[in-house]
Subunit: 198 residues, 4 copies
DNA sequence: CATGAATGAGCCTTCATTCAT
DNA sequence: GATGAATGAAGGCTCATTCAT
């Protein structure tokens, strides 16, 4: 007696997530080529063959993760507007969220797309869509307000935001928690870059 | 006219460098597994077979590069003591040197060793040797002097230095020059983290 | 309202035919290995799993079709004795029947058994049973009568019949209708081989 | 000490032929999918990997053979104009050549291209180039002369030639020599189709 | 020494078959 | 019974490494 449509779909969705989660772990630490489908399927606890009912190829799996990474980073950044407090408080909170978050693996993934020649063209293309300008536009109102009320340092806003994301991305890419020696700087230290010295 | 012993050795040395340089380029952008020996030999302008007269395996080639990366980063850091000027000037100069330098590929390499599971155990071991404590010890005198004369911010010295290297490593790992959107922050912005606000 | 025993059996029989018919189409055009069970089940409009309640394996399905092909060709040839008219008329009629018939797919199947190494031993064995001698024996009386009454050409009867079946088989194997360029020769042309020139 | 350029090229050419010859045997008897690269390499007496230095894929290997088959059949047919004797003698000789020849495997190959859905589009395309009209044009002069001098039967020349090639193709496709029971009809029997009865 | 041909282990992917529901 | 999810054994292809020349 077959399952009904809805149950089936739910099970399929869960499996899909299961695979994506496993793939993210393996891709992040081994790269597109270094990741073996056998590793992913083992991590997901299923057979190799089954993965191909959900993703038609290793590349598709990879690209799906890249899409999520980009979408997540955009949505995460956008949250700043819902946050309470002054511009500096908002920025601090956003930074803590990003650095805290489990999104590290996604940063590693995006780093691979950016620096590696072996990822599919399509993934490269996706990344271009998420240009720095996009993030600058999202944060611009907050920085403007911060400069106006004197919390944030003077200077070219685009440069400041670009610097912010570059530093944050660098830190996230280092994938610090699992790394001996390195440890994430405290957010207050980082914030000094953007705050008006008094 | 056959070359004499010395000339022969010199030619061997040159070739070795040639191979290492080619390998660095390829490893940095493709990772250990993504890099094909054929790519490296082509980049080096020699046949595949010949590479095996200089390095017994791909792993050995990789490990040799990791050794150089570590050695280079230590020597580079150590230069700070020969630099002229105040502590802050020294730190600024060192930062400019690191960010400027062509050593980006080495940072990518070390990033791979740190984050990737596909790298030989031996390479992982080498990295442990270059612990954060090593760098902290090298910069400690400069930071102490800087705090004493009021140029540098108060606070735990180890934390400050660790923050310094973490931020710098992150930036270098992003491999920025070839990346659209990202651009290296100006050193003055970064230095705000460590300078006493007045 | 559950079906009774008999209805059930009838449904099973229909389904079996449905599967065999679908399998014949797919096997004929793609060969034993090229045919995927998924294609057959789709063509038959049922699930893959269900096929295994009717045929225990792909090979069994294939062999069943080969048995039918052989049986059909023997029964078809035997019909000549029920046909009206002179020997030449009988032969012409038989030829038209064979060439006309939808049995092309069976010819393709038998061709595969004959020429392909990938077919199960058992299928090869079945084909041996349907030797040329069997067909010669069936047509011998007709040819003898035709030679006696002067309609058919003189010559070794076995050779003539063998030539007949070989030419016909070749034409059927070409699977002409779906092929551009080739077209079935008119039966009258073919019959010239066997008729006495006058 | 490497071989000189010419020796190298010759060795490469021999290897190429070796592989093509092995591939023809295996493809002809097992079809595109049924043929395993391991079988071909074993037949050729080399490793699997080496084949990929000469042909970039199984499909390319297959297509190369199809090209040869087509080219060979065209060139073979064209020979008729160099043959001595009357039109009927020419046709008889050509038929003997075709049926005699070791080209059977090529006919099997072309048959697969014609009837199978699993061959690459490119191979299908090649076959269209070698249309029946091409062959009709090549033989037309001979048939015309034969009809004029009374050797060949009256009737539509295109139909006669088409019938000729269809019958011959059918016979060749049966791959008779290796087949029990079937035997190639004598050419004289076949020729009756085209000769004027007297 | 230098080349690139040759090998074979291993990976992605497909698909016959089985199994849970 | 009926479905389609799940498995795992190949097969095509790549590439590090070896070897003949």
């Amino acid at each position: 007696m077959p399952l009904n449509e809805e149950q089936l779909q739910q099970k399929r969705d869960e499996r899909r997530e299961q695979i994506l989660s496993a793939a993210l772990k393996v891709f992040a630490r081994r790269g597109l080529i270094g990741a073996k489908m056998s590793m992913i399927s083992e991590e997901a606890g299923i057979s190799q063959g089954l993965m191909y009912r959900y993703f038609s190829s290793k590349d598709e799996l990879f690209i799906t993760l890249v899409e999520r990474a980009i979408q997540g980073s955009i949505e995460g950044t956008r949250q700043i507007h819902q946050m309470p407090g002054s511009p500096l408080e908002k920025l601090t909170k956003l930074t803590e969220l990003i650095l805290d978050e489990e999104g590290q693996l996604y940063f590693l993934l995006m780093h691979q797309v950016r620096t590696s020649d072996e990822v599919p063209e399509k993934a490269k293309g996706l990344l271009e869509y998420a240009s720095m300008d996009l993030y600058i536009d999202m944060l611009k109102p907050v920085f403007e307000e911060g400069q106006k009320n004197g919390e944030l340092a003077e200077g070219d806003i685009s440069e400041l935001i670009s610097c912010y994301f570059t530093v944050i991305s660098g830190l996230m890419t280092l994938n610090i928690p699992k790394t001996q020696g390195f440890q994430l700087p405290r957010v207050e230290l980082l914030m000094r870059i953007f705050t008006r010295s008094q």
